[in-house]
Subunit: 417 residues, 2 copies
C-alpha cells in the first residue's frame, strides 16, 4: 500500500443511544478496515439530530481520509444521514432513477400505493457511486469531495454486512492499493480450547502465517491468516499450517468450512449421496432448521420430526411405553429407540435423535443440561451422553445439543464412530 | 428531574478499533443512562493514543455534563485513560492507598514480585470518588471539576457492568434527582413502517409520552416512553396512548410483549388451553424451534413435522399426489392440505403449515420469496399468500415465513381470521 489512509466510522440512530439496538456495524466495518490496513482513528455514534450529525461529519472529514456512515437511510422523517452529508459537504442531492424505479416496482408488486416519503430513499448525493442493496431498499453511496470519501451504508446489519464486504472493501482495496489478506478457519468439536492451545503452542507464535485461537458455542477454532500480494501467495503460506493442525488434532477436526457446522455436514452428505433425518425433543426443530439453513439441503433431507411430548415419541417414532416408564424420556434407551424409529419412518441413511433437558426446570430427577444423542445407520445404532452445564441458559443448551447431533452425524458419516 | 443532564461515552482501546473485541459496554451504559433520563449525545471509541484521547475528553466535557470512559485502566504502557483525564482536565494523579494495598496483597498471595508498573492501577485522579472493583483489580473513579463529571470505568464487561449498575447509576440518580423512565413496545405484523407512520403521525410528534417508530424483520414497532417520578406516573401517561394506537392499528396488532413474537403466542395458547403443531417445508423446523425457544412450551406443543420433500408431504400429512401434480408443492392447495393433515396427525387444536421458496434458486416457475401459509382449526381451514422479496437472503425469507406462521396462528387464536 502506498500510504495508509485514515478512516472514521459514524453510526447514526437515536435507537443506538437509547440502547434499544446493539451496534454491531462498527465492529463489522472495523474488522474490514483492519484487514485492508486502513487506520481507524475514531468510531462515533450520533442520534437522529441534524445539527449534531452535520457537525460530526464535518469533524470526521477534517481529520480523516474516509468516513463510513451507517444508518439513517430509510424513508422516515428521522432518516437524516444523506441530508446531513449534503449540508456538511455542500453537495446537492438528486433522485437516482434506477433506485426510484426499484422502489416503484416494489410497491406495484405489493399492490400498495406508494407515498411521497417512500421516494426519499432514492434521493442521493449528486455524482455518488451507488451501491445496490441486494438485501433491502436503501442503496449505499460512495461520494468523493476534495479527495475525501464519504461512504454511507444502510443500518440493518444484514444489509450493511454484505455491502461493506462485497462492494466497499474491493473499492477501497483498489483505490488504496491494499495488500491481500486471506485466512482459513479450522474448527473442532469435543476439544477444550486450553487443550487445543497446548497442542499448537508453537504454531500460535508463528509470525507468518498467524494462528489465532478462538472458542465459541462448544467449538474450538484456529484462524490461520496471511498477508501477501495475491490470494495464491497467501494460501501458499496458509495451507501447510492447516495440514499440520489437522495432523495433530485430526480426531477432533470438524471442518474448515468458513461459515458453519451445518454446511460441512450437508456438503459431506451430498458427496456420499446419503440422507439424514432427525427426531428432536429438547432441540425442538433446531437440528432440522440448521441443516435446512444450507441451500441445497433438499437433496439430503426429506423429512424430520419434533417429538416433544412422550406420547409423540411413542406414536411417531415408536418408542416403547415400557422404555419411557423404566428409563424416562431423558435416557440413552429412549434416544436409541428414537434414532432407530426416525430412520425407519423416514427411510434416511442416518437417523439422529436428541432428548434432554434444556431447562430452566429439571425433570425425572435429572439435571438441566443432560442430553442424550442417538445415531442410527443400517450398520449400527449408538448413543452418547452429553452434559452442558448452563442451567440458566436454555438457548445455549439447545444450541450445543443441536451441535452435538450434527457433530455425531458427521463423525458417523466419516466412519469415526 | 430538575434539569436533564447530557452525557457522552468514550471507549478506549485499539483492540476495539481493530475489531478484535466487540464493544458491548457502550450499549450497557446507554441503556442505564436512558433509564435515568440522561440525554446521551454521542458515543465514541478512540485507540490507545494519548493525543487523540486528551482531545476527545476535552471535546466531550466542553459539550456535555457527564463523560463516561470505558477501558484503559490496566497496568500496561497502553493504558492511558487516567493520564489523559489528568492532562485534559488539569487534575493531578496520586496513589490511592487502599487500592495500592489491594494490589500488593494480590501479588503477595500469588507469590510473585510486584513490578513498578503494577502500581499504576492505584494512581488515581486527586479527590476522585473511588469505586471498588469487585470483579477485578482496577477501581473505577468519579472525578468532578467545574460541575462536570468524569466517570472512568474498567473495560472488561464483567467488571464494568456491575460497577455501572450498582455504583454509578445510584450515584447519578441521587445527584441529578433522576426521574423514572418506563416504556412499552407495541408490535405489528403485516403493516409497512411507512403506512404505520402515516397513521400515527400526530402521536409521534407528542412531547410526552414519546412515540418512536421502528421496523425489523417484517415487524413494525412503536415504542411509547414516558418519564415521571414513579413507574405508575409513567404508565398513566403511556397506557392511554397504547390504547389509542391499538384502536387505530388493531388489525395489525401483534403484541406488546417486550421480547418476542413466540412468547406472545405461547402465552396466549396456554391461556386458552390450546395446542399447536406445524408442518413445515421451506422453514425446515424454524417454527417449531421458535415456539420451543419459550420455556414451558411443552404445554402447547406435542409434536411437529418438517415435510421437506414432496414425498414426505404426501406420506406424513396426507397431501394428495393429485394436488402436487396439478398445483405444485408451492401452492395454496398444498398448504391447505398440509395444515389439515398436521392437525389430524397431531391432534392439536391449531395446525399450521408453510410451503414456499427460500431460495436461492426458484422452482416450479415460481419466484424466490413466494410462501403459502395454511391454518387449520376444527372450525375452518384457510391459507394466505405471502411474498418476501429477498432473493439473495435465504435466512431472511425463512425468518419472515416463520413469523408469518406465528402471526397467522395468533390472529386465528384471537378469532380475527
Amino acid at each position: 500500500m502506498k500510504k495508509r489512509p485514515s478512516a472514521q466510522i459514524l453510526c447514526v440512530g437515536t435507537e443506538l443511544l437509547l440502547g434499544n439496538v446493539l451496534d454491531t456495524n462498527s465492529h463489522t466495518v472495523s474488522v474490514g478496515l483492519a484487514e485492508l490496513g486502513i487506520n481507524l482513528y475514531y468510531r462515533k455514534t450520533v442520534g437522529d439530530n441534524l445539527d449534531r450529525l452535520v457537525f460530526s461529519i464535518r469533524e470526521a472529514i477534517d481529520t480523516s481520509d474516509i468516513l463510513v456512515l451507517s444508518g439513517g437511510l430509510g424513508s422516515t422523517v428521522d432518516d437524516l444521514t444523506l441530508e446531513a452529508v449534503g449540508k456538511a459537504m455542500d453537495i446537492p442531492l438528486e433522485y437516482h432513477t434506477p433506485t426510484l424505479e426499484k422502489i416503484e416496482a416494489y410497491y406495484r408488486r405489493k399492490g400498495v400505493v406508494m407515498t411521497e416519503n417512500n421516494k426519499k430513499q432514492a434521493l442521493l448525493p449528486k455524482g455518488a457511486i451507488v451501491l445496490e442493496n441486494r438485501q433491502g431498499m436503501a442503496p449505499g453511496t460512495i461520494t468523493e469531495k476534495d479527495g475525501k470519501l464519504i461512504i454511507a451504508l444502510p443500518g440493518p446489519p444484514r444489509e450493511l454486512g454484505p455491502m461493506f464486504r462485497e462492494d466497499v472493501m474491493p473499492y477501497l482495496a483498489k483505490r488504496y492499493g491494499a495488500s491481500v489478506i486471506a485466512s482459513r478457519m479450522v474448527r473442532f468439536w469435543g476439544l477444550a480450547e486450553s487443550a487445543m492451545d497446548e497442542r499448537v503452542k508453537d504454531l500460535t507464535s508463528l509470525e507468518a502465517p498467524t494462528v489465532a485461537p478462538y472458542a465459541k458455542n462448544g467449538e474450538s477454532m484456529l484462524r490461520v491468516s496471511a498477508r501477501g500480494e495475491s490470494e495464491e501467495e497467501c494460501l501458499a503460506q496458509i495451507e501447510p499450517v492447516v495440514e499440520e493442525i489437522r495432523r495433530r488434532l485430526g480426531d477432533y477436526f470438524w471442518t474448515d468450512f468458513e461459515d458453519s457446522f451445518e454446511e460441512a455436514l450437508v456438503h459431506e452428505l451430498r458427496a456420499s449421496g446419503k440422507k439424514i433425518s432427525f427426531a428432536e425433543s429438547c432441540t425442538g426443530g433446531l437440528c432440522a432448521k440448521r441443516v435446512t439453513d444450507v441451500s441445497g439441503a433438499s437433496s439430503v433431507i426429506d423429512m424430520s420430526v419434533v417429538t416433544y411430548a412422550a406420547s409423540a415419541k411413542q406414536r411417531l417414532v415408536g418408542v416403547r411405553g415400557e422404555t419411557v416408564e423404566k428409563f424416562g424420556v431423558i435416557s440413552a434407551e429412549c434416544a436409541e429407540e428414537m434414532a432407530r424409529g426416525i430412520r425407519e419412518l423416514s427411510g434416511a441413511d442416518i437417523g439422529v435423535s436428541v432428548t434432554g433437558l434444556a431447562g430452566p426446570t429439571s425433570d425425572e430427577g435429572k439435571p438441566v443440561g443432560l442430553v442424550f444423542v442417538g445415531v442410527s445407520t443400517e450398520k449400527k445404532t449408538y448413543t452418547k451422553r452429553y452434559f452442558f452445564p448452563y442451567e440458566n441458559d436454555r438457548a445455549h443448551v439447545r444450541l450445543l445439543a443441536s451441535s452435538a447431533c450434527l457433530a455425531e452425524a458427521l463423525f458417523t458419516l466419516r466412519g469415526k464412530e
